[in-house]
Subunit: 771 residues, 2 copies
């Protein structure tokens, strides 16, 4: 057991190994990856797992707060790196103690406890003079007080006694892109630093563009084994943009002291005096003992896992990876905030500026809709709240209605720049914002799915219908009439596969546009019929009428969809590109570019970055026959390099549907292990949120084969040979039901006896939930 490597003080809190992701030796080269993988999120903020002892040669300390964005010299509004409170330096005389300090590190282990939501560390630091110090620590971002985080050191001098010195630091010198000198940007100005009344320190910052205030406060406690306060010489120091509280403590050989750091971070997003609020939060947070905090943390995570539990019997490593994915996924969003979304890298890294992409609706949202519907509601409401941004975005590009941005931060404006600087300093004209228009339909697709799963009429009536109308209008203004061919087409766009930009009639996009328009017409008409008065109100608000719906419907039906003989052409002319199938795979079973295509520009070839047509077939499963799915899967799989982490889960899902179970399993693993194994090599930049959500979908929609048809649960289980059972929970009609799938049966446990469900189209009745 990993926990046996820790002293009893920490061991008592740690779960069984099946809940533990462990870093079992210290290698500075892995730091940035573990900073991401062991980052914690409180719902309000995310804090990377840098070592709080400091003196690490290369690290990316970060504390992100949902909704705190700033642009300044960046190309887009970045989720700001706020002052680093995760710092408490330890010295013996002038010698620091930490993982990279002194002569050697022994017996290192760091673990993330997925069941309870904390990180614990253990190692022995050997100083140049032979002093050995055992450092253990445990860190929590409080789910109870999501503005707050804390960590405790247990420090034991193993072969000496003496005085240790400490620095409790809030470091406001941090930037975004700290190790990318070309892109490094400081998003917060430091307004004031200082001591708090009595004890502790503060830093008041503000974003540079909108002057959004943010206060970070921190304080410390230190006690000996009897609980006696041992802090000596406590003194405040202001060092430029670092607020520092110095203190010392006498330590005795083989006796353990504990040093606690507490911090609170409050932004001005909710109004009020951020410093006053932060101090209040901090002071009440500090009242709780570590035991109490962990107790509360355990309870909250127990309730989370009650919903998110997914058990795979037969592949423990996959089981752990899935838990890891879901842990980060469910830890990230703010349950109380519908003005923020989920970044493509969660709140665990800086890449993509913390922006929401289509990843939210098509990859992440289903997990939340089915397990945390109240969070899913925030996510879909976020899009409604930014509908005006989408309207501005449409107007800016010469269209009407609502055109959602490819990248969305806090204002709803397009954050994806029209040009950027590449790593080598050259200017890169970036057409994505202009061309990757499918995002608007993706968002509608996700919103409608959310409604279908949850039956949230309030959202449907107050938000979704308006979004449907406005997005249908957008598409109607975006499609182009081709007189010669007498159809509507969409030219100058990019589909999900980003290696083929500026194409015409991307099947995925055209299909989605048509679907979006027709779905809007269908729902608006239905609503008009069912709730005429309310619908009229909406029509008045939007200056909408049946004539416009008719035009939308008529035009939608004339949108060209490039399908011939069962093979869907990804876009017009794709089949004329240089074509070579993939025949080689690397040691991780990842496809390699066919040798014949080396040196040829990607967009001249049929090789894809990620699922495109296959994605379309996944979303509209019912609308394509078996043969078409099989044909297209085979064709495109042989041409897809999966250079986007959004690709494997979709290929897993479609692989299962077409009966390619072995390949599907490879894709499942690829998706599930993306960060735990750093298999895209960029985990340092954050957690691959879409992969995590896609993994969940692969299990639930793929291996369990769950679907809703006619408002009923249908299963088509595809349990692999090596598994004995797959079980999970989800919300259905307001009831948390539990599903257990073994090779020969599907059982549902529910509070409602009358619940019936279908397995391979045969009806069953739920069992009463075991109390």
């Amino acid at each position: 057991m990993y926990r046996d490597r820790f002293s009893d003080k920490i061991k008592q809190y740690i779960s069984e190994d099946e809940w533990i992701v462990a870093e079992t030796e210290y290698n500075p080269r892995n730091n940035l990856m573990y900073e991401t993988n062991f980052a914690l999120a409180s719902g309000m903020m995310g804090n990377r797992a840098t070592h709080p002892e400091g003196f690490i040669r290369k690290e990316l300390p970060a504390n992100y707060v949902h909704g705190v964005f700033d642009r300044s010299e960046a190309f887009q509004r970045d989720l700001c790196n706020t002052p680093n409170w995760n710092l408490l330096k330890i010295y013996y005389k002038t010698e620091p103690i930490g993982p990279e300090a002194g002569q050697e590190i022994q017996d290192y282990i760091r673990i993330l406890d997925l069941q309870h939501g904390f990180v614990a560390t253990h190692y022995i630091n050997v100083a140049y003079d032979g002093r050995k110090t055992l450092i253990e620590s445990i860190k929590i971002l409080s789910r109870t007080s999501p503005e707050c985080g804390r960590f405790r050191y247990y420090i034991t001098p193993l072969n000496y006694s003496g005085q240790l010195e400490f620095e409790n630091i809030i470091d406001a010198t941090v930037t975004n892109f700290m190790d990318f000198p070309r892109f490094r940007v400081k998003h917060l100005n430091t307004r004031q630093i200082g001591p708090l009344e009595d004890t502790g320190i503060f830093v008041q910052s503000e974003t540079r563009d909108f002057l959004l205030p943010l206060t970070t406060v921190a304080d410390v406690k230190a006690t000996d084994s009897t609980g006696k306060d041992i802090i000596g010489s406590r003194q405040y120091r202001g060092h430029g943009e670092q607020a520092v509280e110095f203190f010392d403590a006498y330590v005795t050989e083989n006796e353990t002291i504990s040093v606690d750091k507490f911090a609170a971070v409050v932004s001005g997003r909710d109004g009020g005096n951020t410093k006053v609020i932060a101090v209040e939060k901090l002071r009440s947070f500090m009242m709780r003992s570590l035991d109490q905090e962990i107790e509360m943390q355990k309870k909250i995570y127990a309730s989370y896992w009650e919903r998110a539990k997914i058990k795979i019997e037969g592949d423990p490593r996959l089981q752990l990876a899935v838990r890891f994915d879901l842990f980060h996924l469910m830890s990230t969003p703010n349950p109380k905030d519908n003005r923020t979304n989920i970044g493509a890298k969660l709140i665990h890294g800086e890449e993509y500026g913390g922006h929401a992409f289509w990843d939210t609706e098509l990859f992440i949202l289903p997990f939340f809709s089915l397990t945390f519907p109240e969070i899913a509601k925030n996510l879909v409401e976020y899009r409604y709240l930014l509908l005006d941004g989408a309207r501005r975005n449409a107007l800016k590009r010469g269209q009407i209605g609502a055109r959602y941005p490819w990248e969305s931060a806090d204002t709803g404006d397009e954050e994806c720049p029209d040009w950027t600087i590449e790593g080598d300093g050259t200017c890169y004209v970036c057409t994505v914002a202009d061309q990757e228009v499918h995002v608007t339909a993706d968002i509608i697709y996700g919103g409608l799915q959310y409604f279908l799963w949850t039956g949230d009429m309030e959202y449907y009536e107050n938000n979704l219908l308006e979004m449907l109308a406005e997005t249908a209008r957008f598409w109607n203004s975006r499609i182009e009439y081709n007189k010669e061919k007498d159809y509507f087409e969409i030219t100058g766009i990019t589909g999900p596969d980003e290696w083929h930009e500026d194409v015409s009639n991307n099947a995925y996009t055209n299909y989605m546009a048509r679907w979006n328009m027709l779905t809007a017409v269908k729902h608006l008409r239905k609503y008009y019929t069912e709730k005429t008065e309310k619908c009229k109100e909406l029509f008045r608000k939007l200056s909408l009428n049946e004539a416009e719906l008719e035009e939308i419907e008529k035009n939608a039906n004339k949108i060209y969809i490039p399908i011939s003989e069962g093979l869907i052409e990804q876009f017009e002319g794709y089949f004329n590109l240089i074509d070579h199938e993939i025949h080689e795979w690397d040691e991780n079973n990842m496809p390699l570019l066919p040798k014949a295509l080396k040196g040829i520009k990607r967009d001249k070839t049929t090789i894809l970055k990620q699922a495109d047509v296959v994605m379309l077939m996944f979303l509209f499963d019912e609308e394509f026959d078996e043969n078409t799915k099989r044909k297209n899967f085979d064709y495109y799989e042989r041409r897809t390099l999966h250079r986007s982490s959004l690709s494997p889960s979709i290929y897993c899902l479609m692989g299962l549907r077409v009966g390619e179970s072995e390949r599907a399993y490879d894709y499942l693993c690829r998706s599930a292990f993306v960060d735990i194994d750093n298999n895209q090599g960029n985990t340092r930049e954050g957690i691959h949120a879409a992969s995590a959500g896609g993994t969940w979908q692969a299990l639930v929609f793929g291996y369990a084969g769950l679907k809703i048809k006619n408002d009923q649960l249908h299963f088509t289980p595809r349990i692999p040979e090596k598994w004995t059972k797959l079980s999970f929970s989800l919300f259905w009609k307001g009831d948390l039901i539990h599903i257990e799938i073994s090779k020969d049966q599907v059982k549902i446990f529910s509070n409602k006896k009358e619940l019936s469900y279908f397995v391979n189209d045969k009806e069953f009745k739920a069992e009463m939930v075991k109390k």
Copy 2:
């Protein structure tokens, strides 16, 4: 030859090994020592030898500017650490290149060229991906433009081509005592940072207490081997207190690029708009090529060595150490500034806050008086300019006249605090400022010696006489009449040996006080006789008259000097202390505390920290007979642990005088190698200035046995067996004369034929200097 380790580009500049101090392998544990030993000084500022590539785990970067002091939370006015311009980071993608970056460092060597005054570095950085980069650099603090410093990198990618990225940084986050968290203090507030017009960056700071402004500016150039500008993507970035200029450059395998950084630092001490002046200095500095700069540097150092040259034939290691000592000593003071002095650690480290102690007058000044009299003049005028501070200091302690502070910065007030915090946080009541009163007489002794060597009448008339009068007055108000014994005594004081504090009638102090008083009376009377009108003017200014002189004289002659039977008691009661002689020495031949005294408080024993009575005998050689000297040397040497670096040189000098030549040589080495071997273990804190000056005195006054008697040069050579010759230059009556001493003769080469000198009291005539 060390220079053979460098490429031709740098090799061409490097001197023969006899001028080279080399660091031949990279060990991070030695960094702080080499930062001091390889620090450069321009006369205006000092810059420690941190590696400008950055990413060093532990370092103490510092740039000190003479006269820029600040107190803030410190216990004294510290010489401020000003923004660090010695930084130019190099990246390949996100990977930094530097001594501690990447996988490995190969072929490392760094040298200090004592002849020409520059530092050069060479190493190969091996990145984690196997990329090898040869980095060579050469750094100069300009003697021609002493506000300016520059360094050049030669960068050669040995096995790759690609784009390097750079950050030209001025880092204003620096503090004093960076690695002492308990004492760390930020002395400068950052007022503004920004880009310069066209190219370059600036930081405007000010001291926190007196708001003295200081501007640091920097710019870069980069060229390929043809001299073509290769800077790309140059962009300014403001990161809090760091001004950063980003740029990139393409490098080709095995082709060398050069990257130059230039900086200028201007304080408000000389008035004017510091930013405007700094930019002017920078721009004109940048006009000079590296060749031109080195040419000028060589010329200036050649002229310095012409005066400071001292050649020891027969001990090359000692020769190098002496050169090293003199290089740092002569590089430090500002030749144009009589408002600054020389810190006890030169301008090479932060210990003692850059303050002047008695070290200046008794250890350092003789070297300057005899080789750089114009600098010596600044040093003695500094004390005159701060005479008002000394008057305040006397009044503060209830005395009159002028009482010089134990530690002197820019105001002349006492900088040695009455209490401080110890390393362990306890309060330490520090009696030194109150009790170590001998400093006032030491300063007068040094000033008079300066006058005797140089014959500087202007100083004598305008400065020294007034100082003599005021210090005599101070002593007259400080000495205490003992009615019972009918003599004056001085109680509650500390002599040079700081291990015995709060004693009475310290022989050294009483002797010096009497000397100071009587010397004042003698000189003032003589001056009254010779220049009555001018002297009357002085008397009027000071409200002084003959009656007061008479009283001073009378009292001085009644000061008790505790000498009995040839053995001088260090202070009253010293002979009653617990007494054990030293019988053991450590592996460095340093005396060890007698075992019998372990655990006994130091001040209860006769064991000394440093020369005290022996120092007195050194200063007043003529006033003690051979027997007394011998007796006291023997007695005290067996009781001195030399825990002050001021001690060995004095024991060397007195050892020679009493005929203990072997022990004297050990002391000489101890003094000469103190920093080059880090033999006190604290070289990280700066160069031991008094040791350097003491070493020079040991050679010139000890081994050459130089003295002035009746305004004539007298030599008593004591050339050790292993030397064949000792030669050096010095100023005598405005003439730079050259002295060569071999075992059997002393030769002087002079421009003045008529110069006669005495060797062992026999008269000789100088030879005409060889043209």
